[in-house]
């Protein structure tokens, strides 16, 4: 393979190509290897633009050069040491989530949710947090390639110049664009204009996690692909059919918040039922959970519809087990009782029929939580179907030029499409990518892409709100935006994405309003309105009456989007790779999830390698036994087993599911074979023991029991009897935290937010296997109940609880961990000699040790991610949660400059800020009005390991399950 050399230059002279002539230039032994003529991106787009303009004899005006402005406010506001916050957005699956990005001296260091934005409400998910590290990834592609050779922009220009002229003559015949799902008005405009110029060109959209079936279902049930909008504040009884709406993945954040608002016990507490194959975050949170094979999920939906929708009463009864019937009966009665206060949800992976059934059920229930609106995405058909059409065109030789801005179709496409091979046969292909990945290996021209945080752009939020992406930093790796990639074909390559964007909104906003939009991050009240729809019961019933043929042999396969890598695009992100899966606690890889019974049937134990065979070559996967998983099925997460040469961290980590996914059945399939291969593979699990051993740790009970005995937890809180006079903390601030387990879904957004805020290093797979992960905040996940096959779940975020009587402090021989007069258990890194005695004596085991110099081998770009307010710890030093002491001090400085006390709500910890369900509160316990004081007085409050007398400052609020008495 030709070597990939980044064209480098170290001086203006060298850049100008005079190296070797200049006696002051580099000596011959340091001379760069022969390089293609280098040209920067700007010159390239200018040339391409000018050339296309000539070729097209159109687009005569030439606006002035725009400088890419990393700041929305004036740069003179930049004060060293003072971070600035900018509104921006992340776009995944075409939907925008408003972000507020913190930048220190021009480098983004932390991503938060935008509190005003409807898709975030201040919260952020795992992926939003994780994408920050991707910005600085040294493995990112930083130069143009053609057929695996480093080339210059000039070369690309030369080649494309010809092409554009040629295509223009052919009116765009053979020109195809394969785009990322998008709701961007800017992209919509560009597409229109491209079609004007190239009328025969075609656009298609690809996503490995498409919403195609939602739209097919809506088409079936509503006659048009309306989008469902959910308002959980109006839902008392919620039934999720394979819908993981509590997992902090794209688009789930506002739903999580609204759901959690009704989680406190009482009259208004909602009740969640979940039907699913594998265990999801939603399933772990559910009050009642039914495990079912994928085919049974459809049966359950049919049975539920038959009980709830009068028009479907005549449907043939489904074959359900006794447990399933009991569950469905109770659920149907509960939904009916709640009437308009109930809602049924369905996940995007379910077939259109189930979507149709759910639309019908919600209509029959008169669910107040459901409303419909016109879709915000340009292309609803973004899945294998669209890709198959394109692939067939390529095979037929109808595609001459293919421009890809979608993420890595060669990796994510189902194996049967053989898209990668097809792509290799396209005469001219252009692929814009962050990494030299699987698609880049097969594309002709590969252009480096800008990261979200380097991009100007726009997109709509889940409710249609127009949201802006602002760059926080000039492109680090010479990237080009999607807007610029497309505009270049319009002869406007010399225009920046910003000028395109500004022009689009010129009519709607003067400069003042425009600046307000940008600093807000979105246009207020730009959501798309709700529409009146009518459900077509007949069409659904007609489809439901036709029994789907389900092969009953073999195991059923269930492919799930990964909680951390999503479709795989985050596979080279060390934070996300190391973050334990919220459900399995598996880090650095994926596994074949099996129920205990299925594993027994196969004679496999945890960590045995098995072959999963379905269509093509089998996938080799380690077994992970997951109690609560449906029997007779295997679940695998997609996004792993990457083979691209650029993504070195991701390479061969986990296994690829592409061979298991067929374009007709990308999510579920029957007839899989599971064969143990007789080898084992140690799994990198961050939690190996999953039952509480009867200890009251993550306390949970049912609403009925708690109502009967509200004093249940009285003996688990307060100041235990002691011979010592407790220290008086009643003056000044008294910091404390409270975590509501009823609200916590276990999504792990807090954990990675903490990692980003506190410069927590990544230790790698081997060290995770040795239990040396460094996350200051971990989510303990326990199985509950007596049924080992089908347990309940409870999740509990645990970080340092800042004991008032801290066992770690008195054992440290060098005073490296001490108590502040505000009650913080402080860690003095530069005093620590690393005896690790503090960790031994910590009953919560929240202390983390730098077994190696984890912070030593960062590249120059990765170093930019560090929060300058937090010490980067050395080898041999203990560390742990500080209650974000740097944030406390920043607010203290601000308040003391303004000569006032700190205000309520002014101070939030990183975990609290990220938490989508607001399960974590932090503040002053001396202020009786603070939320943390309020929660500490709650009757559900208890102290973890109260009996040890450590007097933790972090209070927990017990998880209360709202049990349906019929299913108790």
């Amino acid at each position: 393979m030709p070597s990939l050399k980044l064209p480098l230059w170290r001086s203006v002279e060298e850049h100008a190509g005079s190296a070797g002539l200049d006696p002051t230039g580099p000596s011959p032994e340091f001379a760069a290897p022969v390089q293609p003529v280098t040209m920067d991106r700007r010159s390239f787009v200018q040339l391409l633009g000018a050339a296309s303009a000539l070729a097209a004899s159109a687009g005569c005006f030439k606006p002035p050069d725009d400088k890419v402005l990393p700041y929305t406010r004036q740069p003179e506001e930049v004060m060293p040491g003072n971070p600035l916050h900018y509104a921006s957005a992340s776009v995944l699956g075409g939907y925008a989530t408003g972000l507020l990005v913190t930048a220190h001296e021009g480098r983004p260091t932390k991503v938060e949710g935008n509190p005003e934005h409807p898709s975030s409400m201040g919260a952020s998910g795992v992926l939003e947090q994780g994408m920050l590290l991707q910005l600085y990834d040294p493995h990112r592609l930083g130069f143009v390639m053609n057929r695996r050779t480093a080339r210059s922009w000039h070369d690309y220009l030369g080649s494309m110049l010809e092409k554009a002229r040629e295509l223009r003559e052919k009116r765009g015949a053979g020109l195809r664009f394969l785009l990322e799902p998008s709701s961007s008005p800017m992209i919509a405009r560009l597409r229109e204009r491209l079609l004007d110029l190239y009328p025969l060109a075609k656009f298609s959209t690809w996503s490995a996690i498409p919403l195609q079936q939602i739209n097919d279902g809506a088409q079936l049930a509503l006659g048009a692909p309306y989008e469902t909008r959910l308002d959980f504040s109006k839902a008392q009884v919620i039934a999720s059919i394979d819908d993981d709406f509590l997992s902090s993945l794209p688009g789930t954040l506002p739903g999580m918040r609204a759901f959690a608002e009704r989680r406190a016990p009482g009259e208004s507490q909602n009740r969640l039922y979940s039907v699913e194959t594998s265990v999801s975050v939603t399933g772990m949170t559910a009050d009642h959970r039914l495990r079912a094979r994928p085919s049974q999920v459809v049966s359950v939906a049919l049975a539920l519809a038959a009980r709830l929708v009068p028009q479907f009463a005549s449907l043939a009864p489904q074959k359900l087990s006794a447990d399933q019937s009991k569950f469905v009966d109770a659920l149907a009665r509960d939904l009916k009782r709640a009437g308009s206060q109930s809602v049924v949800l369905v996940g995007p992976r379910q077939p259109p029929l189930v979507h149709g059934l759910v639309h019908a059920i919600n209509a029959a229930l008169g669910s107040a939580a459901v409303s419909y609106a016109k879709p915000v995405l340009h292309d609803l058909d973004a899945g294998p179907r669209a890709l198959r059409t394109l692939t067939e065109e390529i095979r037929a030789g109808a595609v001459d030029t293919l421009v890809i801005t979608a993420w890595n179709p060669a990796y994510g496409a189902p194996e049967d499409l053989n898209f990668g091979t097809a792509l290799s046969s396209v005469p001219t292909s252009v692929y814009r990518s962050l990494f030299d990945d699987e698609t880049a290996a097969r594309a002709g021209w590969v252009l480096p892409a800008t990261h979200t945080l380097e991009t100007w752009g726009d997109a709509r939020a889940h409710d249609g709100t127009i949201t802006f992406q602002q760059p926080l930093i000039s492109p680090l790796f010479n990237g080009i935006t999607e807007i610029e990639t497309l505009a270049a074909f319009l002869g406007e390559g010399d225009r920046s994405a910003y000028s395109q964007l500004r022009e689009l909104y010129k009519d709607r906003a003067d400069d003042q309003l425009w600046e307000k939009w940008l600093s807000d991050g979105f246009i207020k009240d730009s959501a798309t309105p709700a529409e009146k729809v009518a459900v077509r019961f007949d069409a659904i019933a007609a489809l439901a009456a036709r029994p789907a043929a389900v092969a009953s042999v073999g195991y059923e396969l269930n492919v799930i989007p990964d909680y951390k890598l999503w479709d795989g695009r985050f596979a080279n992100d060390a934070w996300l790779l190391e973050l334990p899966c919220p459900v399995t606690k598996l880090s650095w890889e994926n596994a074949a999830l099996l129920s205990p019974a299925t594993a027994r049937e196969l004679g496999a134990v945890q960590g045995d390698l098995i072959d999963i065979g379905l269509h093509g070559p089998p996938a080799h996967a380690p077994v992970l036994i997951l109690p609560g998983h449906a029997d007779g099925a295997v679940s695998v997460a997609m996004g792993w087993g990457r083979k691209g040469s650029g993504e070195q961290l991701a390479e061969n980590v986990g296994f690829d599911t592409a061979t298991l996914r067929h374009s007709d059945a990308p999510w579920f399939a029957a007839g899989a074979t599971l064969t143990p291969v007789g080898r084992t593979h140690p799994l990198a699990l961050t939690q190996q023991h999953h039952v509480m051993e009867g200890r009251a740790l993550a306390v949970f009970t049912t609403a009925a029991l708690f109502k009967k005995e509200p004093q249940l937890l009285e003996k688990q809180r307060g100041i235990p009897a002691t011979a010592h006079e407790p220290h008086d903390y009643s003056h000044g601030y008294k910091w404390g935290m409270a975590i509501d387990l009823s609200r916590c879904t276990g999504c792990t957004a807090c954990s990675i937010a903490c990692q980003a805020e506190n410069n927590i290093p990544v230790v790698g797979k081997d060290n995770v296997r040795k239990n040396r992960e460094m996350h200051w905040l971990r989510i303990d996940r326990y199985f509950t109940g007596d049924d080992l096959e089908n347990p309940g779940f409870v999740t509990q975020p645990v970080a340092c609880v800042h004991c008032e009587m801290a066992p770690c402090e008195y054992v440290c021989p060098v005073n490296a961990t001490v108590h502040s007069d505000e009650g913080l258990n402080e860690m003095v890194y530069n005093r620590c000699v690393g005896t690790r005695y503090c960790s031994n004596n910590c009953p919560y085991k929240v202390r983390r040790f730098n077994f190696f110099a984890y912070n030593n081998d960062y590249s120059d770009t990765e170093k930019m991610v560090f929060n300058p307010n937090v010490t980067v710890r050395a080898r041999g030093v203990m560390e742990k949660c500080t209650y974000c002491v740097q944030r406390i001090e920043r607010v203290r400085i601000r308040s003391s400059v303004e000569e006032r006390p700190m205000r309520k709500g002014e101070l939030v910890t990183a975990c609290q800020q990220a938490c989508p369900t607001q399960a974590i509160v932090f503040g002053d316990l001396n202020d009786p009005a603070s939320l943390v004081s309020e929660w500490s007085r709650d009757e559900r409050r208890y102290d973890l390991l109260y009996e040890l007398g450590t007097r933790p400052r972090t209070a927990y609020l017990a998880r209360i399950r709202n049990e349906n008495p019929e299913l108790a």
Partner: protein
């Protein structure tokens, strides 16, 4: 004074402390000859083995300091493992020296004279091994001096509440006093070596170390007082050092560590392992060095009895820990002890009971106490058993404490094993050098004993037979051809 004690003991145990008709000349010869003789091939072989171990130790130390504690198998929750296990094990081994030197001296147990030098040297070298580990197990060993209360410019002091702090004082005091005690006892013998030196150089070197000892009555007077005073000072150390080491655990709130029984149980365990190590080293040494006449069956048997007693104290400790775990009703404590018996290290736990409690019961029978082969094997097993005891205490308690979410297995690495075997090699090397360069038996004390025995025989001829060799050691070594 000395005679009374001697006579009182003689009634109970008539077997000799010295075999044959010895005079000062023959004692000089048997004890000093090994020093003057050229090292044998066997000595060289063992020495090279010790050197190899030392090399391995050096490499493992370099790796640990160069790369980090991550090279060990430690993790969170098992943040302490081999490092601390080895530390406690070596410190424990050191205990026999102090006990024999100080306490038995104060109790006028005459049988100690032939073995005290040996045991003291062992103590010294064991403490040297032990002292390595607290430094090596630090995340940042180059800052180990922060544990000492030195006048730092930033006015920072160590934290006196921490048992690790107490360890620093306990172990350093222990090392210093053991060294002084050993060296003080050596002075008359160094003078003997000086006087019998064959070359000028040897005479000079030993002369320097003999500190001008001339054997005058005045010297002996001061020497005896100083020795007795040091013995008095060292006596509390026998109890204090391992008590403080046990506080490293007992002061923590970890189930399995947090228990009041630890100090006596650790001290007994230390004496137990120390005596076992003395036997392990002495049985071959006395044979090779021809010291059978001064280190007799009676010495060995006395040590076996001490081992038997301490073994039962240790066994009582094990049993009581389990009893407390059950009787206290503390679920965390109960779980830890259950985990010891059925968890990842159940075999280690089983070995602990077998080696430390069950096998030493054989010493109830005189045959086992007098067969040096059996005795040697048992002593080695006890050394192994005591190592497993410390492993069980340190590792299995940490493995499964309060929150099951953090429970984890532990797997030692090659660096862990190298450090341990390396210290065995280093210890062996130091010991061989000791045997080579100074008398392994306290010559002056043995001579004093001979003198006292002879005196007693002359004064009380009716008891003379009691000090005759009723049983020759060679008879007891039944297996010997």
């Amino acid at each position: 004074m000395a005679q009374t004690a001697l006579e009182a003991r003689a009634e109970l145990d008539p077997r000799p402390l010295m075999i044959g008709e010895q005079d000062d000349g023959s004692l000089n010869k048997s004890i000093l000859d090994f020093v003057w003789a050229k090292p044998s091939k066997g000595w060289w072989a063992l020495f090279l083995l010790g050197m190899a171990g030392t090399g391995l130790l050096t490499m493992a130390i370099s790796v640990t300091i160069g790369k980090g504690i991550g090279m060990w198998g430690n993790n969170i929750p098992v943040a302490w493992a081999y490092g601390i296990v080895n530390f406690v094990w070596w410190i424990g081994i050191g205990h026999a020296g102090t006990l024999i030197s100080a306490i038995l001296l104060l109790f006028q147990q005459k049988w100690r004279t032939s073995i005290n030098r040996f045991a003291e040297a062992m103590t010294l070298f064991a403490v040297m091994q032990a002292g390595l580990f607290p430094i090596l197990h630090l995340g940042r060993p180059w800052y180990a001096y922060w544990l000492f209360p030195y006048p730092a410019t930033y006015h920072l002091w160590p934290q006196f509440k921490s048992p690790l702090m107490w360890d620093v004082f306990a172990v350093s005091t222990y090392f210093i006093s053991s060294f002084l005690f050993w060296y003080l006892g050596l002075i008359p013998d160094l003078a003997s070596l000086r006087d019998s030196s064959s070359t000028r150089l040897k005479r000079r070197v030993y002369g320097v170390f003999a500190l001008g000892w001339r054997g005058s009555a005045r010297h002996w007077h001061h020497y005896k007082i100083a020795y007795l005073l040091l013995a008095g000072l060292c006596t509390p150390l026998v109890v204090s050092v391992h008590t403080i080491v046990s506080w490293d655990f007992a002061v923590a709130i970890l189930p399995g560590w947090h228990t009041t029984i630890f100090p006596p149980y650790f001290v007994a365990g230390a004496v137990f392992s120390g005596f076992a190590m003395v036997i392990t080293l002495m049985v071959p040494a006395r044979k090779v060095m021809g010291l059978k006449n001064v280190i007799t069956a009676r010495h060995l048997e006395a040590m076996c009895k001490v081992i038997l007693v301490t073994s039962m104290i240790v066994g009582y400790g094990y049993a009581m820990e389990h009893f407390f775990a059950w009787y206290s009703g503390n679920e965390y404590e109960a779980h830890v002890f259950k985990n010891r018996a059925v968890g990842q290290f159940k075999y280690v736990y089983f070995m602990m009971w077998t080696c430390n409690v069950i096998i030493p019961q054989l010493f109830w029978f005189r045959w086992f106490r007098s067969n040096i082969y059996v005795m040697w094997i048992i002593s080695v097993l006890i050394n192994v058993g005591m190592w497993t005891e410390r492993f069980v205490i340190v590792v299995t308690s940490l493995q499964q404490d309060y929150l099951p979410s953090s429970w984890a297995d532990y797997h030692p690495t090659w660096v862990d094993w190298s450090l341990f075997t390396g210290t065995l090699g280093f210890f062996g090397m130091l010991f061989l050098l000791f045997l080579k360069f100074v008398p392994a038996v306290a010559l002056s004390e043995v001579k004093e004993l001979r003198h006292e025995l002879e005196h007693a025989r002359r004064e009380h001829p009716e008891h003379a037979h009691e000090n005759q060799p009723v049983m020759d050691l060679s008879e007891m070594e039944g297996a010997k051809p």
